[in-house]
Symmetry: C2
Subunit: 414 residues, 2 copies
């Protein structure tokens, strides 16, 4: 919009929100609107941290052969009965079994096979005599201890049995899970598809991220921040660039291909706040205006199958509204828990933290000397308040705040 010195009040909707929704209304709306997740197959090497789309059942025993659990000699356990350093018994060495390179014949009483940990047990042997209990001679060993049949032998299926479920659906894959999948012969893993999240960054005052501020233009701080948050929450970011504050550009962006649309800026009820009106006209603006601070000018709705989140452009509000709303949706679509991913600690407040009944507050705090210090807030536009802070405390809407020394839960930024 070009500047119009002839100011016409009828063009302007500078009123406040007609009503405000509670944070709980918003969370309920989100949980009701999450579509079923899709799955895709990815290579084992790409699967760390992804979420299993199906339970995994092994089709094989691991190990699939009997194997030695010690370095020593594969023997017939009964042969060692009564052996000790005072009563050595002799066994003939027939050969050796190495991992991947077994002894192919079988042995009988009176015979032994040198064997290494992990190597296949030869047929006929039923125990491994540790090397420490032997004296090795030219072609035989002196047995100086007893091993019971079965001792130091790993049986087929000892680690994983064929037909058993090894990992449940919904598991966020850990390093060792990849080891297990590998060992049962799974190279392609069915995981939940990462939701495609389109960032719609609006604002004619914005320069591309990392640009030095110039005249009355400022660098877009929200897209690098939101990209990292979406990444953290298991989504894939689509962000072709800053969108100009024109209804046509914003509508085109809202209609782009994505599972979730995250709009930053122009989310309120002012004359330049196009996105809420466009969403209401072309889709459904189900919630607009939330009883919280910061981030009250937030909204959400749907456009086709897309979930659309309208976040304020002020960076602290943007961060807060993302964590409360968009992040919750993205985590669910990615198969992750709805709960915040932040680590938490419980500590007493060094001074009181004031809020207002009927409004949820997101207060940045500093943790120092095992106490929680509220950070003096100079507004939702001071992003550095979130980089100086250790984390945040939530004051629910039914409280006027927390008294000094109250124990509160701090969600740690990281």
């Amino acid at each position: 919009m070009t500047q119009d010195p002839l100011y016409r009040p009828t063009d302007v909707r500078m009123k406040g929100f007609a009503r405000r929704w509670t944070v709980q209304n918003c969370l309920d709306w989100i949980d009701e609107h999450i579509p079923e997740s899709k799955t895709e197959k990815v290579d084992l090497q790409e699967a760390y941290g992804r979420v299993l789309g199906t339970g995994i059942t092994s089709e094989v025993d691991v190990p699939h052969f009997s194997r030695a659990m010690m370095d020593g000699f594969a023997v017939v356990g009964e042969d060692t009965s009564g052996a000790s350093t005072y009563n050595s018994l002799t066994l003939d060495i027939l050969g050796q079994s190495l991992p991947g390179n077994p002894f192919h014949a079988s042995i009988t009483s009176g015979q032994a096979i040198r064997i290494m940990t992990g190597a296949p047990m030869p047929a006929g042997a039923n125990a491994v005599l540790p090397v420490e209990q032997t004296v090795i001679q030219e072609k035989s060993i002196l047995v100086q201890g007893e091993v019971a049949p079965g001792k130091h032998v790993g049986l087929p299926g000892e680690d994983i049995q064929a037909g058993k479920q090894v990992l449940p659906q919904g598991r966020k894959l850990r390093p060792q899970d990849l080891g297990i999948l590998s060992s049962i012969g799974i190279r392609l893993v069915e995981v939940i598809k990462q939701p495609q999240v389109r960032l719609v960054i609006t604002g004619d005052e914005l320069l591309p991220p990392g640009t030095t501020p110039d005249q009355y233009k400022i660098a877009d701080a929200n897209s690098p921040m939101l990209s990292a948050l979406v990444h953290r929450d298991g989504g894939q970011v689509l962000h072709p660039g800053i969108i100009s504050d024109h209804p046509e550009s914003i509508l085109a962006a809202l209609q782009s291909d994505a599972d979730v649309i995250v709009v930053s800026g122009g989310s309120s009820v002012g004359q330049e706040d196009h996105a809420p009106r466009l969403l209401a006209e072309h889709g459904s603006l189900d919630i607009h205006g939330v009883a919280m601070r910061p981030s009250s000018p937030s909204g959400m709705g749907t456009l086709g199958k897309r979930l659309v989140f309208l976040l304020p452009g002020n960076p602290v509000s943007c961060l807060c509204a993302y964590d409360f709303f968009a992040g919750r949706a993205i985590r669910q679509l990615a198969g992750l828990p709805t709960t915040w991913p932040h680590r938490t600690i419980n500590l007493p407040l060094s001074r009181k933290l004031v809020s207002t009944v009927g409004r949820t507050d997101y207060a940045r705090v500093h943790v120092h000397n095992d106490q929680v210090e509220p950070i003096a807030i100079s507004g939702a536009s001071v992003l550095s308040s979130t980089t100086r802070a250790s984390g945040f405390v939530i004051i629910p809407e039914d409280l006027e705040g927390y008294a000094r020394n109250s124990e509160v839960t701090v969600y740690l930024y990281e």
Copy 2:
């Protein structure tokens, strides 16, 4: 090595370790041998989770102009003195200021400029009168409330002041940190270079990851697991494939270009355990044999500038030795804390956990009903014990274990 049925005892070094180092010896060795980290510049969009190589000082004020913190009218605050709903005062509307699109002239007493949150304050104005305190007429407003000079105005440098440090060296970058860097005009960020970690996976019994077990061959479970662990710890994985159990191939791998070499398999004192001998011959094998369970056949040393970690091939031992030793080194090289990245909880044991004085134990446990249940361990080869487990408990070498109901710290797998 080919199978040799004529077993010659002189070829074989099947003895145990001459001595065992304590875990603390190993940690001290690692901390003494970490070289200084290198730095590199990465794009802001790639910087999430990376560690700052230098402190960041802003060269600009943010914001770099006075801006409105509310939607309303930019006014001379003194003009509103005494205004109320019972005593409306009139101001002329001269124009408007939008974000990125300011009002370029100045105003004086008796005049007002319609202004939006974030828009530049016009010269002459010193306060923003919220729209709720006005009645808007054709070309003027009725002022129905007072605003003091400075009210609802964000001053230059309010968020960030030029010359001030905004983020310290060593900071692991958070989503909002990227926002701050963007807003002060930093597009390329100097971060600590990710250590290059070469995986040397040895074992003639091994098939590539995710291969169905076949005859006496098993799939390599360790490289997918180790790759994920290195990724978690901020390293970059180099893994060209499985190395055959020949001294020449292993030596070539040990001498490859990397900051850290992680060898899996052949780490003990058996005849097929080439890596320790090669490391001793061509570099320095400083530690070999550790008083811990599992993972006692672990070792570490240097070859040129490379840190070399010898991990047992048994997957549980491999995981444990990685977390204790290689991971600590990689995290430090990546600029991350030496401490384990796992979340922890403290809970009582449901039954006693037995160990032996003089040895550090890594016990897999299950957390259930707010109690810690030790998992019956069938050996270091049973990787599924780590996927069934919620996490692990460390029993230090000076304890015989923990009694039932003792509170222990569980490091949660994730």
